[in-house]
């Protein structure tokens, strides 16, 4: 009977009910830089409850009956979009997918007009992906619906970072002092940016590694307004003793030419291989936000190996997005 006590994630042993309104202040989810550690804790805890629903034979609860979620994707996506869609359906919300390529956007409708139309149609939550950094922030100022950023340009991908953190917690129990190494195209990766904010906030020891043309400048200098991370161009040094190794895709669609001599040279110098991984901590887990370019940033034997949790990340993504839908639409705040 003691086993039931262990289901609490991150040491949240407190059994007393707390009103989440005191912790949860967000109307929109744009990035994780304005999240407090208590809020991240709350998301993790709620995700754990949602994860249990996914293990049931009937994966559906009536919580968000009558709420409407609209996905608005100005960029291609497979897993993020279907993950949001399934999350909404598991909570019994109604979901409408707006495919930009076949919508009035091609007739020249502006972002704000499109959003206002969505709102007039009764959207409570708009999930949005846009090639321009800051587009969701602009959107949040014009509509009453809650905006969830599903990736904007180079800027942020908060739901991916939260599902990454949940996956780490499932394997490592605590984020504090966890050695996390992120390897690859850091500067163009919104996943890396959001992960750096959330992981450093929860006390992880984050190292970013990649060729110097793909590393953001000035990250190693302690700055009051930006999280402190270790920066290195040496992959072997970065992987040594790491608890978590995260690979990133080369964002070729966002890169200027000339940043890399060739893909082959990049994969020779920065690919996550079995051999390089053997220097990491014994219990290391390998993560990747997907889509994976096998044998470029990560060896296919590693991506499909026993240390890989890449498919688990996808499952956890549904749970995290359910938790966020619940936290955004489950209570009435100052409306």
């Amino acid at each position: 009977m003691e086993a039931v006590e262990q289901i609490n994630l991150i040491g949240l042993k407190d059994e007393k009910p707390q009103p989440a309104q005191k912790i949860w202040k967000h109307k929109h989810i744009l990035d994780l830089d304005d999240f407090t550690s208590e809020e991240i804790d709350l998301v993790m805890q709620t995700t754990e409850a949602m994860h249990e629903i996914l293990s049931r034979p009937i994966k559906k609860v009536p919580t968000l009956r009558g709420k409407t979620v609209v996905t608005l994707f100005y960029e291609a996506s497979t897993r993020t979009r279907s993950s949001f869609e399934l999350a909404a359906k598991n909570l019994s919300a109604d979901i409408s997918n707006l495919t930009v390529s076949s919508s009035s956007v091609t007739k020249g409708e502006s972002l704000i007009d499109t959003l206002e139309t969505m709102e007039a149609l009764g959207a409570d939550i708009v999930v949005m992906r846009h090639p321009y950094s800051g587009a969701p922030n602009l959107a949040s100022k014009h509509v009453k619906a809650s905006i969830i950023n599903a990736g904007d340009g180079w800027h942020a991908h908060p739901t991916q970072a939260l599902l990454d953190m949940y996956t780490m917690l499932k394997h490592k129990n605590s984020i504090k002092n966890l050695k996390v190494t992120i390897i690859g195209d850091i500067i163009h990766s919104r996943v890396a940016h959001s992960n750096i904010w959330s992981l450093t906030k929860m006390g992880a020891d984050v190292t970013i590694c990649g060729p110097s043309t793909l590393l953001p400048k000035g990250m190693d200098n302690p700055q009051p307004y930006f999280p402190k991370v270790n920066v290195t161009t040496d992959i072997d040094k970065a992987i040594k003793d790491a608890d978590v190794v995260m690979g990133l895709r080369l964002q070729l669609e966002r890169q200027q030419s000339g940043l890399l001599p060739s893909i082959r040279e990049y994969s020779r110098l920065y690919q996550i291989t079995e051999e390089r991984l053997s220097k990491a901590d014994k219990g290391v887990i390998v993560m990747h936000p997907g889509p994976v370019n096998e044998d470029v940033e990560i060896a296919s034997t590693v991506a499909h190996g026993d240390k890989s949790v890449i498919n688990e990340q996808v499952t956890n993504g549904v749970a995290v997005r359910m938790a966020l839908f619940y936290l955004l639409a489950g209570g009435s705040r100052n409306e």
Binding site: V4, I7, N8, P17, I23, Q45, A49, E52
Partner: protein, 201 residues
């Protein structure tokens, strides 16, 4: 303006800055006896303990379910599985202000199919939590039957729901609050009745 400070006297509680008379209805010994009686009733009604799962409704139903289980184990010499149910996702007032939004995991140790589920809660009031819990259990499978055990039934039902096992019937006014404290969550065992302060009108 008068500012004075004193500690609450014996028999008083502080409610939002006011000292209120608190009436203790069940003491630690009362709660212990009541739980012992309910454990016997559960076994008596179901004739055997073979298919029973005790499911505690968060928050205070959980320690109560554990206590019932250890009681039954002590006289039936059989392990009784205890589950935890968070029914928040099934509430009908999910969009209103007052509910605790924090949800936690549901953890039922085995499949509920063909089992006798005994839901355990501290207070039965409007019946809305029990309704939510029923829906939550039915979504998990098809139990043989579902029964409800509560420590306190305070009346004022808003739904056609009754408990199978009642610790104590406490007829109360809607202007009063019934407070159940348990050692596991509140450092003491006690059921008290407190007038709600600051109600307008």
């Amino acid at each position: 303006m008068w500012i004075y400070a004193r500690l609450p006297l014996a028999g008083e509680v502080t409610v939002r800055g006011f000292f209120m008379a608190k009436k203790v209805i069940m003491t630690e010994a009362d709660i212990k006896r009541t739980i012992a009686r309910i454990s016997h009733e559960i076994v008596e009604r179901n004739k055997s303990t073979k298919n029973i799962i005790l499911v505690g409704m968060r928050t205070r139903g959980v320690p109560l379910a554990k206590r019932l289980a250890s009681n039954i184990e002590s006289f039936e010499e059989m392990k009784i599985p205890v589950g935890i149910l968070d029914f928040s996702l099934y509430r009908d007032d999910i969009s209103s202000q007052d509910i605790p939004l924090v949800i936690k995991s549901t953890d039922i140790p085995s499949s509920v199919d063909g089992k006798v589920i005994v839901l355990v809660d501290d207070v039965l009031y409007t019946g809305r939590s029990a309704r939510a819990a029923l829906d939550a259990i039915i979504d998990l499978g098809r139990p043989l039957s579902i029964q409800l055990a509560v420590l306190v039934d305070r009346g004022h039902r808003e739904l056609p729901i009754r408990a199978d096992y009642v610790g104590k019937n406490i007829p109360s006014s809607k202007d009063e609050e019934i407070e159940v404290r348990l050692t596991e969550t509140d450092e003491m065992d006690e059921v008290a009745i407190i007038p709600k302060p600051g109600r307008e009108g």
